[in-house]
Symmetry: none
Subunit: 220 residues, 4 copies
DNA sequence: GATGAATGAGATTTCATTCAT
DNA sequence: TATGAATGAAATCTCATTCAT
């Protein structure tokens, strides 16, 4: 099998291991539980309000704990997001690698559909983080190497897959990789954010068909 | 010609006519100029920081004017965004209607490519607004009917076009419409936001090919 | 006349010009007045509580203004102290240079007594700043070159004067310079801080006599 | 021998016996060790940061123990300082009494030099306490009788010694006593705080000479 | 005896908005 | 019409102290 390591989204940087103040203390069971509550609450509030608009106060209220406690585990809102991001990037990166070469035939489309299904269920968990991240990045928060690279590496990985199957000269694989990322990310964001009463099977069918025909299909 | 009015993005609501305090006064040349500086500055800061993270202070500094002046023209940050949004929605809505039925052949792809070119150049102007809007909406700002509907109407319009050409039973036109919106919006956002040194022609070729093959192509 | 410039306390660094945020705005009369009130209040509270223990709240209350206003002129407590320090260092430095060579006879003692009188009245104004500064420095606040050097330069200047007159081999002029600084600074601090009902003439007589006999007198 | 009791620094008040909560329990070896670690850590942090700026957290971290433990031995930061002060005052007071009458001749200077040597080595141990104390007092902490009196009693004691030897009418012994305290305290503080690479013998020579000539010398 | 966890009061700082000139 | 000044409510963050294990 091909070694993808050169374009891998990996090596999550140390600064993202999450909860800076928490790392300097030895957490007991109770501490880990509280930290978990805060992470969950953070994710939920990010989802509802977006990054800049969420207040630490919203988070601690939801987590049913106090301000003081929050700063026992995270040095600020940004720190909490970084902690969340850590897991997200790890899992997403892993998932990306499971997208094998997609053949031109129906079995290729089926494989893509299956992969999209897994993406979808993971996205359900992580979209608050992904969105908060993107907003925070734009607002000027520094996420180190990861921030600058993760998206590009994702797109590059997909570009590589596309290059394998699609020889169409009017398709620039790098552009197509980014289009693929854009499409699936934003579409699922719309899905999570708005109440569109789509049938789940329809969604997967349509997405797989569009992506396969448009992006992974060998033409002429 | 078919009447699209039933799915049109239209009837921009009164509350979006922008600059509430400004409307109660008759602006002279000087006033219009100042207001223009504020609108431009607002757009630029929204682009750089996002909606929640921009401060009125950033805007007035960039516009080289004062806090007091800002409130002479807009009742708050939201009001300024609504003013910006007004033009954006009008133009974008108009553009959407110019997407005629896209035929299955090469001339269909060419038409799509041409339309995407126009979308692209308009997006360059408006992406700060579009993004600020989407963030503000998530953060809980109310934009009236428009906020709730605009995206859906866009998607519905595209769905309609898709329905015309693509009879593929595995494609749900409503889903596909939303996929199309997601794809072009997010892709161009990435383009504006990151420095990806793509060739402009490549980008249009690839996008048109993907969208045409994946979304508008009549399949066997 | 000898050029003292090589050991001068001079060239007050730019970062001490005081009131960082205030420098970025054009102050009108009213603004300068408010800034003055804050500086005065700061000095007074530093005198009463010391640096670490003073709260921004104490300062704004005394200045009869609001928290928001404080941050319009200073970025924090430290910034205000630096602003105060600016003037203090300038004046003190100037005063230091007016200490001419002190001769061994009665006229030398008289000159010293006169200089101490001027020192005393200046110290009355500046002791809150000097003390806040010394505390802040110990607490870890960075004052740039000035912080590190001012005291040393003072002592060096006095050492130079001592070297001129006192050839006593058991006196190390550098040590003696520092002793002189220590003596006059701390003694006047005690005077300001505690209520010792000393007669002003007695104080000057005694100080001048001690310093002249002990430090500046030519021995055998 | 003269009875100095009337000007003595004595009768250390009960409230300074240190570690209020600790006194209500019988400490065993383990407990005394922990208490010692806390006292040492307290002194070290006071030295580095000053009184107001030291946090209980700094102390327990340095002592490698926990917040809970701290409050097992001291009721608060002030309580710890009082405990430290207890020993300091006792030793310093004792030292002060060992300053006998200083004669006008070389043997007087030698005696003074010897005494200053002992002062110096004691000051090395206690300067963090002395300084924390002086800062705390200024910041408004109440130290009972001791706080108000100790310094004055010191100065008075020295004034008495001066009165014995120095009949100079231009010297007010009370002022001179305070000058002596100021000089030796502050000079050694500078020595501890800054890195001045003075030779130890030079320092003692110079100090003794200055103090003897300036303060204790019988003049014409 | 010892410790990590939790708390909440209070201090700092920000920022949208109003006001006086 | 324009602007610097002022404000105060709200958000962030700190830290001494108490509690449960």
């Amino acid at each position: 099998m091909r070694d993808d390591r050169d374009i891998a989204v990996q090596d999550v940087p140390e600064e993202l291991r999450g909860g800076t103040p928490a790392q300097e203390r030895k957490l007991r069971a109770q501490g880990r539980k509280t930290m978990g509550k805060l992470l969950d609450a953070g994710s939920e509030v990010f989802a509802k309000r977006g990054y800049s608009a969420t207040r630490v106060d919203d988070i601690v209220k939801l987590a049913k704990t106090s301000h003081g406690t929050f700063y026992l585990y995270f040095s600020n809102k940004e720190d909490l997001l970084k902690a969340l991001l850590h897991d997200c990037v790890e899992d997403m990166s892993e998932l990306a690698f499971t997208l094998d070469d997609i053949g031109p035939g129906p079995e290729g489309e089926a494989a893509l559909r299956e992969w999209l299904g897994r993406y979808q269920s993971m996205y359900e968990d992580y979209w608050p983080v992904i969105h908060a991240w993107s907003e925070a990045e734009q607002a000027g928060v520094e996420f180190g190497a990861l921030g600058r690279e993760a998206l590009g590496q994702f797109a590059a990985l997909f570009a590589d897959r596309i290059r394998q199957t699609n020889k169409d000269e009017r398709i620039n694989p790098d552009v197509a990789g980014l289009v693929f990322v854009a499409m699936i990310e934003r579409f699922h964001f719309f899905l999570e954010t708005r109440q569109m009463g789509f049938d789940a099977e329809d969604v997967l069918d349509t997405l797989a068909r569009i992506a396969h025909r448009g992006i992974f299909h060998v033409h002429d």
